[in-house]
Amino acid sequence: MSDAITDQAAPAQGRWWIGLFLVIAVLVAIRAGMGEGMGRVYVQTETTRYASTTNEQGRVAWSAVADGTAGAVTIERDLFRTAGQFRAAESAAPGQQAIRVSWDRTIGLWLAAFFTLAVFSFLAGDNPAYKLTESIVIGVSAGYWMVVAFWETLVPKLLANLAPDMVKAWCMPNLEGGAFNPIALIPLGLGIMLLSQLTPLGRHVGRWPLAFVIGTFAGLKMVSHVESDIIEQVRATMLPLVAFEDDGSFAAWASIRNVLIIVGVLCTLAYFVFSVEHKGAVGRAARVGVWFLMITFGSAFGFTVMGRIALLAARFEFLFIDWLWLIDPKGERAMAVVAAATQLVP
């Protein structure tokens, strides 16, 4: 029965989504045709020539040199410029090419806007645009972490210790040390053992490196937790119930705060004492402890809401400021601000 309803609803829902995206596309097209337009990224190419020198320790250093230096290489960098800077440059020299539209970055901006809207569209219901965006995010994240793990861990921490000369010649010319380090064979072996988890026969072998990781981590955590989360926290609750100011006068608010902290800690701990039945004084203290816990959860929820709204606001700012050009709080598209930044324009 439910499958039949789903089958009937699917075409209607599909038409609804197509209609929604068409409406958004029409609105965006209207906005793009109005006034100064929208969603363009400007760049200015900075050209620098670099030459390398090698010192007596074999360390290679690259430094900027003047044009015409023998053996120098040219590096071009596209620096972001604002629409206001572009307009200022155009008004000074119509048709100038120093500041220009970067089509690849403009496409990137529009893709970012599309992905933002696609993620928002999940609030109305699951749809292909959201699924596409979700898949791209997962794929990019996985690829990025793989590259980070390779270049930040495997190459400098493992390969550079096992084959320093090869790594120095290949990708780390300034690598210091340069001697084979046999201790690096231990993480290599543990890593290979961990990978054996992927094979049906090697699952028990993979438990050894896991035991090593868990044991090391537990040891590392134990000391720091005892120090910072037990001893220091206990010390922080050893407060005077009656507090005084520096001049000796009674500090009412500080006293109330200290009493609240001490009562809160004791009552909350009472709630977690399960070896004594929660009756009588212990039961009453535990009920007060529950109130303290609820207030804590409420404040945590409030902070979470604040964080999520801040992130939502940041995405709306991106859409309104960078993509749709509806508002300009930073004055990046205004000519008046550009006047102060003309040194950036050649």
Binding site: L123, E152, N174, L220, M306, A314, E317, L326, I327, P329
Partner: protein
């Protein structure tokens, strides 16, 4: 009420957040901010340092938390530069150095162009290892960060002269979005260096976990965008005085209007939902 399509709530929240942004974009007005003690403590800790002191700043976040943490990073960097302090930037998150470069470009290279890389500030980049990195820099800083981001050995950087361990910095700032972040800095660095002053700028989600360390193990704390706005206002008041603050230094305060209306809507919905719940319960109780 129970039959209300939740998409209406999403739409209402969208309007509650979007309209104040547009209003702010048109008028340029922000709400006044009065600092709470944790934010004031951050400001005071930086003000108390003598000129030329080196400050370890850890960028422990990525673009996912930029909306909350980038305004904090901008304000911290501006304050440090204004006080002529010397930030040594590191990162425990792989995208932290990129965020740090953006902040350096936006603040130091634009508004403090006389400051020299390697002498007045430096970006030492990212190191993998999470709390392992913190454990090691507690005893041997250079073992984890032997070169800066461009490959120059730290031994040749004037800013790193005499620095052998994290405890050599009079002040450490972490701008953190999660793990590893504020909690780990307290556990592995603050606890083992009793004289060290640690400040943390944290996301809303993290704030309630880190709050218990203030003011003992954490000297100051910026909790979410509200903390960022308070600190931003303090720094602006100290540096700009009566002058108009540049828009890039009002980012956190601009995000407080959406906060206000978003929270008002949420409170209204919670009150309304509870009122409806108790009303329905009463109706059922009196029904025959």
């Amino acid at each position: 009420m129970s039959g209300l399509d939740r998409r209406w709530i999403y739409l209402a929240m969208m309007l509650a957040v979007a309209l104040p942004i547009l209003w702010n974009g048109v008028t340029g007005k922000t709400f006044p901010e009065s600092p709470t003690p944790p934010s004031q403590a951050c400001f005071d800790a930086i003000e108390a340092l003598p000129e030329g002191s080196r400050v370890l700043v850890s960028f422990d976040y990525d673009p996912a938390s930029e909306g909350e943490l980038a305004p904090m990073a901008t304000s911290f960097m501006r304050h440090l530069m204004h006080k002529r302090l010397k930030p040594v930037v590191i990162a425990l998150w792989p995208l932290g150095p990129t965020k740090a470069e953006e902040t350096i470009a936006s603040v130091i290279k634009t508004d403090f162009p006389d400051r020299v890389n390697g002498k007045d500030f430096v970006n030492l980049g990212f190191q993998t290892g999470n709390e392992g990195v913190l454990k090691v820099i507690g005893t041997d800083f250079r073992k984890q960060f032997p070169v800066d981001r461009s490959g120059t050995p730290v031994d040749r950087l004037p800013i790193m002269e005499g620095i052998t361990k994290a405890g050599d910095f009079p002040l450490v700032i972490t701008i953190s979005a999660g793990y590893p972040g504020g909690k780990e800095w307290v556990q592995y660095v603050s606890s083992s260096n009793p004289g060290l002053v640690l400040l943390a700028g944290v996301t809303g989600v993290q704030a309630s976990q880190v709050y218990s360390y203030y003011p003992g193990q954490l000297r100051g704390m910026l909790a979410a965008i509200k903390g960022a706005a308070e600190y931003e206002a303090l720094v602006s008041a100290a540096i700009d005085g009566d002058r108009v603050t540049a828009p890039k230094y009002t980012e956190a305060r601009r995000r407080m209007a959406p906060q206000l209306f978003g929270h008002l809507l949420l409170i209204a919905l919670i009150v309304l939902g509870n009122a409806m719940y108790f009303a329905q319960k009463r109706c059922k109780a009196v029904a025959p």
